[in-house]
């Protein structure tokens, strides 16, 4: 039996066209893009052409895109890079480098959300713990949405960075990035006119949004934005950080000064080419199909309705309206997430649990906790993530199997 893959938020298969585009850059056109000779120049041309294709989607300049090894690295570069650069600026302002130039209220302040991806959350927490920054974690509401006013209320004189994700990876809720971006822009221009406070940079982890939402950086009013190839049918090990001209950032990987001196390391030529091809395929499809998202949205809604109708004591986590076309996150009372996953796997269906055990950690999901889901429910949560390739008959099959699995597990459970 053909397996049904409903874990596209974890990763996607490389599309054959993407793989084809990448193939020449392993054995045939293998050059190092920094080399002077023609092998190198061929690689350079491939990298720059790929970059050019990507910046068209992002509506930015070529020099504003830095390729990295993936989403986690981009998030780390954005956060650590901005913080270090802010500390450097402050040190200079105080008249040169001193060992501990800052009192607590002079420390750079970072705002993020309580349900960010761990690549952002743990990085901010670590900087906070080591005494390099002060941090505020803005809470989402019960629907899993961050209010722009709450971000605004968290801003202090020393705030240097706001990092909010575009689409939550577990519950798929879409944040008002444009609204937050515009609010920060307004605040920044007021600050610069009055010469008070620092410039606040706005970073957005847009990894889960890339397939379906607008990535125009000018429309979104973002200063930094993270993207990753393997969530959009591209290869693993390649991502990027958009960085608006003028954003001051300290590189985190030093060496040969590739990528505008911001990210050293020999370019992953095949990866970069594959990334651009994956982006190009989405753009072409969006031109051809009038409403690219609607097919996925319809299947998502069918799945949500089907589950809530057929399975008692089930609930949808996160807003139904402001939701990624691909995300279904549901909880079942009296059935544990990992057991559901194992049973789904035996039935040929791949899904993931937003809750315990996924990462080996036993705590309930920090995302579900942040939106106020009680542990009895969050332990029984499952995430199905669709893609434009998902077929209706796959959803039908899932809707037949899932009620049987939940019933079986509930029979085993001492808690009804």
């Amino acid at each position: 039996m053909k397996r049904i893959y409903l874990d596209n938020a974890a990763t996607t298969p490389v599309k054959p066209e993407v793989f084809e585009a990448m193939k020449p850059y392993f054995s045939r056109d293998f050059g190092n893009a920094s080399s002077i000779h023609s092998d190198g120049q061929q690689a350079r041309a491939a990298v720059e052409q790929a970059r050019h294709e990507i910046v068209e989607v992002l509506n930015c300049k070529d020099s504003e895109v830095v390729f990295t090894s993936g989403g986690s690295e981009s998030d780390n570069l954005a956060i650590r890079g901005i913080v270090e650069s802010a500390v450097g600026t402050r040190r200079l302002a105080l008249g040169g480098w001193q060992k501990n130039p800052q009192t607590a209220d002079q420390l750079p302040h970072v705002i993020t959300s309580a349900f960010e991806h761990h690549a952002v959350l743990k990085t901010v927490q670590m900087l906070e713990k080591s005494g390099e920054i002060k941090a505020t974690y803005v809470k989402p509401d019960k629907e899993g949405l961050i209010a722009a006013e709450d971000v605004k209320a968290a801003i202090r004189e020393n705030t240097v960075l706001v990092s909010i994700m575009y689409v939550n990876n577990e519950i798929g809720t879409i944040q008002s990035i444009r609204e937050i971006g515009k609010m920060l822009e307004k605040l920044n221009s007021a600050r610069s006119e009055a010469s008070t406070g620092r410039r606040i940079y706005f970073h957005c982890d847009a990894i889960q949004a890339a397939e379906y939402l607008n990535l125009d950086t000018k429309y979104l009013h973002v200063d930094l934005m993270t993207l990753s190839a393997h969530k959009i049918f591209g290869p693993k090990g390649i991502g990027l950080l958009f960085m608006k001209s003028g954003v001051k950032i300290t590189p985190q990987i030093t060496g040969g000064e590739q990528e505008w001196r911001l990210r050293s390391g020999t370019e992953n030529v095949a990866g970069i080419v594959g990334f651009a091809k994956a982006m190009e395929i989405i753009q072409n499809a969006k031109c051809k199909i009038r409403n690219y998202n609607s097919k996925t949205e319809k299947l998502r809604d069918k799945l949500i309705d089907g589950i809530l109708d057929r399975i008692p004591k089930s609930r949808l986590n996160g807003s139904r309206e402001r939701r990624s076309p691909a995300n279904v996150n549901v909880s079942f009372f009296g059935a544990e997430g990992e057991s559901i996953l194992i049973n789904l796997d035996l039935a040929g269906i791949s899904a993931s649990s937003g809750s315990a055990c996924t990462s080996g950690a036993l705590e309930p999901s920090h995302v579900l906790e942040a939106i106020g889901v009680k542990p009895e429910w969050s332990h029984g949560s499952v995430r199905f993530s669709l893609s434009p390739e998902t077929k209706e008959k796959e959803i039908d099959y899932l809707l037949e199997e899932l009620p049987k699995i939940i019933e079986k597990l509930r029979k085993m459970s001492p808690i009804k």
Binding site: A335, G337, C357, L362, P375, E376, H379, M412, S413, I415
Partner: protein
């Protein structure tokens, strides 16, 4: 797996907060002391010639695959054993019988061991109260 409706004792351990809840049910019966033990307890009086053993045991578990498997193996290991023997069951033994249990799942075997101990304890308390 399942419920014993007329169980001599039951015990619930873990809590839904942590994600794992196990419930154990036992039926206890008496039988003559096994030959080996008889030799050891030769000097004891006639009353102790009988031992209590686990005639039947069932479980219900809300938890991950390892938690369900741990409960299942633990109940299989103690079924038919005397209470004294059953109390000797360790989480290590449960983990060993399961093959390779990853460190992050050790707590599942510990929970199963605690479940067995707790249900026997509940039985003994109830029995002693009734005497």
């Amino acid at each position: 797996m399942g419920v014993i409706n007329d169980a001599d004792a039951e015990a619930t351990i873990g809590n839904p907060h942590c994600g794992d809840v196990m419930k154990m049910y036992i039926k206890v019966a008496k039988r003559p002391l096994s030959q080996k033990l008889k030799v050891k307890s030769k000097k004891l009086d006639k009353q102790t010639e009988n031992e209590e053993y686990i005639k039947d045991i069932k479980f219900q578990t809300l938890g991950c695959g390892a938690a369900i498997a741990s409960s299942s193996i633990a109940t299989e290991l103690v079924k038919g054993k005397s209470l004294t023997e059953a109390l000797k069951l360790t989480s290590d033994e449960i983990a060993r019988r399961m093959g390779k249990l990853p460190p992050v799942k050790y707590h599942c075997s510990i929970l199963a061991e605690e479940g067995i101990k707790k249900v026997i304890e509940n039985y003994e308390n109830r029995r002693d109260k009734n005497q």
